[in-house]
Symmetry: none
Subunit: 144 residues, 4 copies
């Protein structure tokens, strides 16, 4: 089984923030979790607000918790709100079910981590996450 290293995680963050700059997005916060949900690295850009680290982590943790990108959780929340409520509760309130949480996979399909981004629209957050994951040579899974 492959493992996401700190060096990988830093590269993901650098590339995600570069994408945000390229697209003129608002200041972003980027969190990278390992396959067990522990944080590997996090950066919050100047001007990105107080709770952004927890929001970004909540998007990423939802992916690890369920094995699906957070866009799927967002769809579930719209069609089965009580499922999301239960899921959120049994997680100890650690899940933010909107797009911008993206699984990090390797070519075999194995999940080795997740990225969560917040700061701009959820769709734009997701674009930055995908760019970061691809820039580091991994396969993103948004849950679309």
């Amino acid at each position: 089984m492959a493992k996401l290293t700190l060096s990988n995680a830093n590269k993901i963050i650098t590339d995600a923030l570069a994408k945000g700059k390229e697209l003129g997005l608002k200041p972003l916060t980027v969190v990278v979790l390992d396959a067990g949900g522990a944080t590997i690295a996090m950066q919050r850009e100047d001007g990105s607000s107080h709770l952004r680290p927890e929001i970004a982590a909540g998007k990423a943790f939802g992916c690890i918790a369920t094995g699906v990108g957070s866009r799927w959780l967002n769809a579930q929340a719209e069609t089965r709100p009580h499922f999301l409520e239960g899921l959120s509760n049994v997680s100890g309130g650690r899940i933010v079910a909107v797009p911008g949480g993206v699984l990090v996979k390797i070519e075999t399909g194995e999940i080795i981590g997740a990225v969560g981004i917040t700061g701009d629209t959820s769709d734009n957050d997701e674009i930055a996450a995908v760019a970061g994951i691809e820039g580091a040579g991994f396969t993103p899974d948004t849950g679309a």
Copy 2:
């Protein structure tokens, strides 16, 4: 009073997982609770994601909490969401109100435990739970 033994619980899990394999379901997580809501046994198949044990337990605990299979809780959530919200709150956030939580009964109708399964669709999770309970010689109650 009849009591679900560890040996019973292991048999339920084995048969539920065999049903999942037979039907080609995704990797499953199976939890068996006793009549007091304490876990007797749990197994998470390789590839079943991080929070699945808590989700499966949440389905099963909803059954024990209310004395009804979780399909009924799912219906309640759709027609009376505020009831589920209150129920969830007074449980300390331990309930996941979607199908796949099934009561284990004996022929007198007495409840001796509950099974919770997650990993595939809620309907398929429930099919596996029913198969496990019947395989161990007990009567399932899905709340349908």
Copy 3:
């Protein structure tokens, strides 16, 4: 990186319970976690009390959280109680800092999971955990 499979976890539990039987220990509860702290399998013997699954999980999670066997946490609790209190708090109250939580390592020294056992004395719980881990072909680390 190696990964603890469900098959490994079931073998660990079977061997740990056999050791308990051999030594005439009280009914045990055994939990096996993966390297990310998610439960892989759990069994509670008939007569092992209501909260034992959470106690066993708390011993095992302390190991994963800190990368050391729970005997070390027990020593810390005696010499630096405020460290254990802080650690417990930031874990969300998920740590039980007494012997009986043992890391599962492979020959390279890499941590691939943890076992937590409760039911008899902490020392005996640990003996059963070590037997289970060795029976499955892995290296136990008790934190001694």
Copy 4:
């Protein structure tokens, strides 16, 4: 008011990790908080365990919470454990009162953030934090 930027925080982390490498310390986790207690950046080295981000954050948050380095909190815990318990409770369980949490000050004495490090002994964690803060051109306050 001066403000710790993401660029400052990344420099602090880089220098703290370099110090750890120079001294042959175990793998470290470094967290940098701003003056309001929000995380700016975090890095966990390969091999640093699962809960280290929360432990490091707990050391740093104790500094922000009280306006003193965590070495002072450690001393308080030894002489007035009930004070630490109350403090920890009103913080919502967010404080780890051992050395390794260090305030980041500017020449006027103004607090602009805090660094928390965990992974080696508390004393060594603190040495790495001091090195990181000084490397970035700020004044460390360990609470000694």
